[in-house]
Amino acid sequence: MSQPAARDLAEARGLRLRAPLLLALGALLAFEAAGGIVIFCARLVTGTTPGESLHVIAGVALTGIYAAYQVRHWNRVAPFRPRLDYLLGVIASLSLAATQATGLWLALSWWRDRVAQPVPGEVSYPAALTALHNIGSVAVWTFVSAHFGAVLMRDRRRES
């Protein structure tokens, strides 16, 4: 690739990486991931759920931000191409959608036991749904990171 073309590619990528929607998505994902790990460990060991309400509220915000980002992202990268970065991106988006869906479903239990008809003690989350939400979170972390890494690596190779 010629020098100016490589520079244009790098600039375009830099702009995309600094886009407010992507930054907001990244910040919310990181916040939810950290909060999820804290809740997972604390609930398992001590039976408490520190930051539970914040996790739910940020999760609802994440759903909206992610939907907006995914629509714009897909409009830019469509159609699907048989490449590893695309495959990882599809798995990442399906994982994130499934995690958000199970998260919102779990949030109904939170709403019932914390807001609508408050009960003392822990919210009674369904164990199987919690497990699905947790495994979805692992998949999101893994495949979003792998997709991101694969795209950056692909661009670096194109520029060199």
């Binding site: 460990c41 060991v45 919690t130 497990a131 699905l132 947790n134 495994i135 893994t142 694969a150 692909r154």
Partner: protein, 139 residues
């Protein structure tokens, strides 16, 4: 105490998954073609069977369905977090290795410190999982 069949299956299959992980790394280390099929099978199996199993057991323990001492719950939490880290590292590093190899480079071979650190974390994760299985059902 009777051992749930799925717990036995998970404990045994973890060893096969570990063999798959070491196979992928070794092939790349010895400059042979990247076993993409093995990588994909291992990554998906680990996620859809073993991580799901672990998440389900942890959720049941957290909900109080399974009476488990607190120290073992702490081990569950530590093992779960470490397994997450190991799995994440495996998929990302293997993707890098696959992409690098298409350009004639061998990622694991060229990043020995990273490779050995990853293998150490993976080994600790697996050994801790097998230890939990043994302490819970065999001791």
């Amino acid at each position: 105490m009777s051992i749930p069949p799925f717990s036995i299956f998970s404990a045994v299959s973890e060893l096969f998954v570990t063999a798959g992980v070491f196979f992928v790394v070794r092939r790349n280390w010895t400059r042979r073609s990247f076993p993409f099929g093995v990588f994909l099978a291992v990554a998906l199996f680990e996620l859809l069977v073993n991580v799901l199993y672990m998440a389900n057991r942890a959720s049941r323990a957290a909900a109080g369905h399974d009476p488990i001492p607190t120290w073992m719950k702490a081990m569950f939490a530590a093992h779960g977090t470490l397994s997450l880290l190991a799995y994440l590292a495996f998929v990302i590093l293997a993707v890098f290795a696959y992409q690098d190899q298409r350009a004639g480079r061998f990622f694991f071979r060229e990043h020995p410190a990273l490779t050995w650190t990853f293998l150490a974390i993976w080994t600790v994760s697996i050994v801790s999982g097998e230890a939990i299985f043994a302490l819970r059902y065999l001791v």
